[in-house]
């Protein structure tokens, strides 16, 4: 149905997107000037679904603005006051902690530029909040505040960020970006930092493994071209760092600010267009947020079908938008968010600050592995009454333990650990020789790996167990396996690192400096056992209704058949995103077996025995998780 454009000017743009080409500023103007709202929405939703399936994320979160006493006075802000003025407030840390419920998933702190609080106050705030709610992600201090700390406390930006991180900071919020335009800065917020400083601070955070968000304050006197320039500058930085999680367009609230917006701003149509255009322009941002506090509940709900995949959260209390007359209720209960997402036809996914799926609130959800080798199952898959959630194998396993996943491609270890609730289907991801995407990058040959640490990733247990089996039974070695906390390139302390999925493919092509030996674990297994290796397999929850089981099996089979007959461009596109040529992608996928044959079943049985003989059996990686956070998830991380 997407080819039926009312506005024919959109057709060439859609073709560009389909071929993996990037949209330009001029393309963006065509989008903004189009009155074909529904086609814009369909384009954006299609792109969004490729990235986040049917998921819409929300957090049980708390916003805190510790003070409104501000050294600045920006024209568009109704929030800031001076000390001693009526309404001025200034919270002590105890007071802040008192506002945070113990079961919170995310704490969001932004505030004014306080004239005399010492640096220790801020570090202490983060430390004590983290101590109070250790499970929560702390997302605190906009670039404006970071820059203010840097100048006021005469510390380098990097050190400010590093100290905050050590105190427990998880991410930076995206505020203070306003619009990246000197014209508008001089006009509206002359004393705020400019675009260059804002972007520099965010890039610095990304390099330290601190993910961040980015906002756009639109709907006042900016032009469409200025909105687009803003998006393009973010896209550029994201290409370099991959550290942005979410883009958040903020609809301007005129309130009593004295700014008179252009007449076409911001209608609900303008709001939805901005969401859709952002989704299409920011092709390297994992998420687009419809922030209901600013957009209203009405527009935010509709935006879930126009490219947005995040609704922010329960928020707790939000002062800034309300002081400017935003009309949405002060607190949307979690139930309301769930209902809004559900009625939008999506999966309500409760997340932490880094988009890990802590819980999902919908039946009949299929987990979708976001790796290239799973693509052949999904292009022609008719979802029917199922919904699709992209999720890395490890989190899929965890959600399945809570019976939250009806079916999906499970890491073999997760399947073996959950045979009581999971039933195997006849489809798998297996290979008979090299796999190319489960690789041990090593500084040494196998025999020399006995001493020293091997870094492993957190995404799947099967590859880790395969490595352990090979080390113990094939080579008789027992080196120490250590989870790598941060980006894999920081592997200086390791003798070898195990990489899987798209990251492994990319590194195979472009190399991992210092690690000159690359061992393909599937090849290692094949040469040893003369059997294929099954990395993952389709399985369904045993409680799934009989008719759904039948439908599911048929759908997988038909989808795979269709892909075998007419390979879709989807895998080429996906391969392109991680730097593979169409040919390399084809060759890579040709190495897999997607149907579970006799040899594959035998391989599973052999592997099961070998894993059971490990000490501890099946140990590291498979068991119940202390959620290890990926400090950085760019376009190739968990959120495909």
């Amino acid at each position: 149905m997407i080819d039926d454009f009312k506005d024919k000017k959109l057709v060439p743009l859609w073709n560009k997107i389909e071929q993996g080409e990037r949209l330009t500023l001029d393309d963006g103007l065509v989008l903004f000037h189009s009155n074909d709202l529904i086609s814009l929405g369909k384009m954006a939703q299609r792109v969004q679904q490729r990235m986040s399936g049917d998921a819409v994320y929300f957090a049980v979160n708390q916003k805190i603005e510790p003070s409104n006493i501000c050294a600045l006075a920006c024209r568009f802000c109704n929030f800031s006051t001076k000390e001693g003025q009526a309404g001025a407030y200034d919270m002590e840390i105890e007071e802040i902690i008192g506002k945070i419920a113990p079961d919170i998933g995310e704490v969001h702190i932004t505030g004014a530029l306080h004239p005399y609080r010492p640096w220790e106050y801020y570090l202490d705030m983060v430390r004590r909040i983290k101590k109070h709610v250790p499970q929560a992600d702390i997302k605190a201090f906009t670039a404006i505040e970071i820059d203010y700390f840097h100048k006021k406390f005469r510390l380098p930006v990097k050190s400010i960020l590093q100290q905050l991180k050590e105190a427990g900071l998880s991410a930076l919020p995206g505020g203070g970006a306003e619009v990246f335009s000197e014209r508008l800065r001089r006009l509206l917020f002359p004393r705020k930092i400019g675009a260059a400083t804002w972007l520099r601070i965010h890039a610095a955070a990304h390099r330290l493994g601190i993910p961040t968000n980015a906002t756009l304050l639109y709907g006042h006197v900016e032009t469409y071209a200025e909105r687009l320039t803003h998006m393009l500058r973010l896209r550029e930085v994201q290409d370099q760092t991959g550290g942005f999680l979410t883009f958040i367009p903020l609809a301007f609230q005129p309130g009593s600010t004295g700014i008179k917006p252009r007449p076409e701003y911001t209608s609900a149509v303008d709001d939805l267009k901005t969401i859709a255009v952002a989704r299409l322009m920011l092709d390297n941002f994992p998420h687009i947020k419809a922030y209901w506090v600013m957009l209203t509940e009405e527009v935010a709900a509709a935006a879930l079908n126009f490219g947005a995949d995040d609704l922010d959260g329960t928020v707790g209390g939000e002062k800034i938008a309300h002081d400017a007359g935003a009309t949405s209720p002060m607190e949307l209960a979690k139930e309301r968010l769930i209902k809004i997402i559900h009625e939008a036809g999506k999966i309500p996914v409760e997340r932490d600050g880094c988009y890990h799926p802590l819980d999902i609130h919908r039946e009949k959800v299929i987990g979708k592995i976001p790796y290239l080798n799973s693509v052949p199952f999904y292009n022609y898959f008719e979802k029917g009454s199922f919904k699709m959630l992209p999720v890395v194998p490890r989190w899929m396993g965890l959600l399945s333990l809570k019976d939250k996943i009806s079916a999906g491609i499970f890491s073999l270890m997760d399947y073996l650990g959950q045979e009581d609730r999971l039933a195997m289907l006849d489809f798998c991801i297996a290979c008979r020789a090299d796999v190319q995407s489960v690789l041990l990058f090593s500084r040494k040959k196998w025999p020399d790996l006995d001493s020293g640490k091997i870094g492993i990733t957190d995404d799947t247990a099967t590859s880790v167990q395969l490595l352990r089996v090979l080390l113990k039974h094939k080579y008789g070695l027992q080196p120490q396996l250590v989870r790598m906390p941060g980006p894999v390139c920081a592997g200086r302390d390791y003798a070898a690192v195990l990489l899987i999925g798209d990251e492994a493919l990319k590194r195979k092509k472009f190399g991992l400096p210092g690690f000159n030996k690359v061992y393909d674990l599937a090849t290692e297994w094949y040469e040893w056992q003369n059997l294929p290796f099954v990395f993952a397999l389709w399985a369904q929850n045993k409680s799934l209704a009989a008719k759904d089981k039948v439908a599911l099996h048929r759908q997988i089979d038909q989808a795979l058949r269709a892909e075998e007959l007419h390979p879709s461009s989807l895998s080429t596109l996906h391969g392109g995103r991680i730097g593979l040529t169409p040919r390399e992608t084809r060759d890579y996928l040709a190495g897999f077996t997607f149907r579970l044959g006799e040899q594959e079943r035998q391989a599973i049985a052999v592997f099961r025995r070998l894993v059971a003989s490990l000490d501890p059996p099946g140990g590291e990686g498979r068991a119940v998780p202390a959620p290890v956070r990926h400090s950085r998830e760019g376009r190739d991380g968990a959120k495909k």
């Binding site: 609900a268 149509v269 939805l272 009405e298 709900a301 509709a302 139930e335 009625e343 939008a344």
Partner: protein
């Protein structure tokens, strides 16, 4: 059932069956529905134009004996807040509204046994003669049913008397969801679904035009919504008496039903119903999206989901207000909302005749 087959049917302008409507309501992608609805909307109304009416929605009495579970407006006779306005008072109300440019009065009230038939007839006659600037759009089906009970006249007899007095259109309120099971639970004394339909049928037979409404988002199932649409589509086949379909969601505050249904239906549900209505009710000339009942922003969006009318300016409104749902506009804002949604605006009469066009300046 296959969605693609249903879409093909719709594109070929073949009427869809109730079970196909149900499949669409349950399974279709929202924007696929919107796309289909938009094509049909421009077929019904080829101009990129959205109409509205300058109207007011006063209530002559809040005394009602029907005790509907969803209503926050009514009071019993002995309640200190109970009121019943005289005809004089209402005429003054209409005259004041007319001075502000209002051209239509949508008048409804509780089912109040204390008011005699003459009160109602006089209200019509005097409006026609004393406030000729406004079109009387008076009395919903439940009031007609109540009046029939109190006066001993049959519904057709009553409607004929009103017609003779000068009434030409009826508001479509009181339908809620036209499925007997639902009506029995939320408004057992307001008349059955069949009663509502028979009032409309009698009216259409005489020559009245009316709107058809639906209040959803309480106890109804998806299938009940389809039953509702199917009932009014059938009636429309017979007499073409409906001008427009007007859905809105139940507002839970201050009503007994609101204690069990605490959450309003979501904005997306509204968009889905608007689009589905445009598809299902292919014999209805207009689908009305209201800036009022769900909020201005969702009203604007609905104009892209198959609706071609923005309802009235509602100078006065008390029923939603009793449920703490407050929303106000002016003709100027109404025009601006239509413009910023990307359409020309046009002021219309109750019977959908265009009186003035406000083109979207490009």
């Amino acid at each position: 059932m296959n969605l693609a087959n249903i879409y093909a049917k719709i594109n070929a302008r073949v009427r869809i069956a109730p079970e196909e409507g149900l499949e669409l309501l349950r399974e279709a992608e929202l924007l696929d529905l919107a796309e289909l609805a938009r094509v049909l909307r421009f077929q019904h109304n080829p101009l990129p134009r959205v109409t509205f009416v300058r109207d007011t929605n006063p209530n002559y009495t809040n005394v009602c004996e029907n005790d509907c579970a969803f209503c926050a407006f009514y009071r019993h006779r002995d309640d200190p807040e109970a009121y019943a306005a005289s005809v004089d008072e209402m005429i003054r109300n209409f005259q004041a509204a007319a001075k502000t440019g209002v051209t239509a009065v949508l008048l409804q009230g509780g089912v109040n046994p204390a008011l005699p038939l003459d009160y109602y007839l006089e209200m019509v006659r005097r409006t026609v003669s004393e406030v000729p600037e406004v079109h009387p759009h008076f009395f919903s089906a439940p009031e007609i049913i109540g009046l029939s009970r109190f006066s001993g006249l049959s519904v057709p007899q009553l409607l004929q008397k009103f017609w003779d007095a000068g009434l030409r259109t009826l508001p479509g309120g009181g339908a809620e969801v036209l499925a007997e099971g639902v009506k029995k639970r939320i408004s057992p004394r307001k008349g059955t679904a069949a009663d509502w339909l028979s009032v409309m049928q009698a009216a259409h037979r005489i020559g009245y035009k009316a709107t058809a409404t639906m209040m959803y988002g309480h106890l109804e199932s998806d299938a009940d919504i389809i039953t509702h649409l199917e009932s009014i589509r059938r009636l429309q086949d017979e007499y073409q008496g409906f001008t427009a379909f007007v859905p809105w969601s139940f507002k839970p505050d201050n009503s007994p039903l609101g204690r069990s249904i605490t959450q309003r239906a979501t904005p997306t549900r509204y968009l889905r119903i608007i689009a589905l209505a445009r598809i299902y009710l292919e014999n209805f000339p207009h689908i009305q999206a209201s800036w009022f009942s769900e909020g201005k922003k969702i009203g604007q969006i609905a104009l892209h989901f198959g609706a071609d009318d923005f309802g009235g300016t509602l100078l006065e409104e008390n029923v939603h207000a009793s449920a703490n749902f407050l929303n106000k506009t002016s003709a100027e804002e109404c025009i601006r909302m239509i413009h910023t949604a990307g359409f020309d605006a046009a002021e219309r009469t109750t019977l959908y005749a265009i009186s003035q066009v406000f083109p979207l300046a490009i």
